[in-house]
Symmetry: C2
Subunit: 75 residues, 2 copies
């Protein structure tokens, strides 16, 4: 089975990496880009049961500055 | 409008970062995790038209080793 865990900075946390990408895109002429935030995605393949909620919360995410979202993918 | 661009290593390219995460999870007792691949996600906010296809292809992705997927999000 497959799922993906999206980890992104909380909206209250500055994202200099995303801002740099936005500035670069604007500089390249893509002037309609208003905001970019960069995060991580973990594509996980697992056998039957796996406690992805615990994994995402305890291992993949730094809860002080990051949020996560789990999306289960069709097999 | 919002969209996200998921950038991940091509399946033929080794992903040592993902393998390290998998090994760590297995070591922590999450033994049903078979594979992890790590990628990047760009959450993009844009006004009306933006050529996200060109942006993803030419700027956000290294086409030699990476694939991308664009997902348009409801507003």
């Amino acid at each position: 089975m497959k799922a993906r865990v999206l980890v992104s900075l909380k909206s209250t946390v500055l994202d200099p990496q995303g801002q740099t990408v936005r500035a670069a895109l604007n500089g390249l002429g893509y002037s309609t880009i208003r905001d970019v935030r960069q995060g991580k995605v973990f594509e996980v393949e697992y056998d039957h049961e796996a406690d992805l909620e615990a994994i995402a919360r305890d291992v993949l995410t730094n809860p002080v500055i990051e949020d996560y979202r789990i999306e289960y993918l069709p097999a």
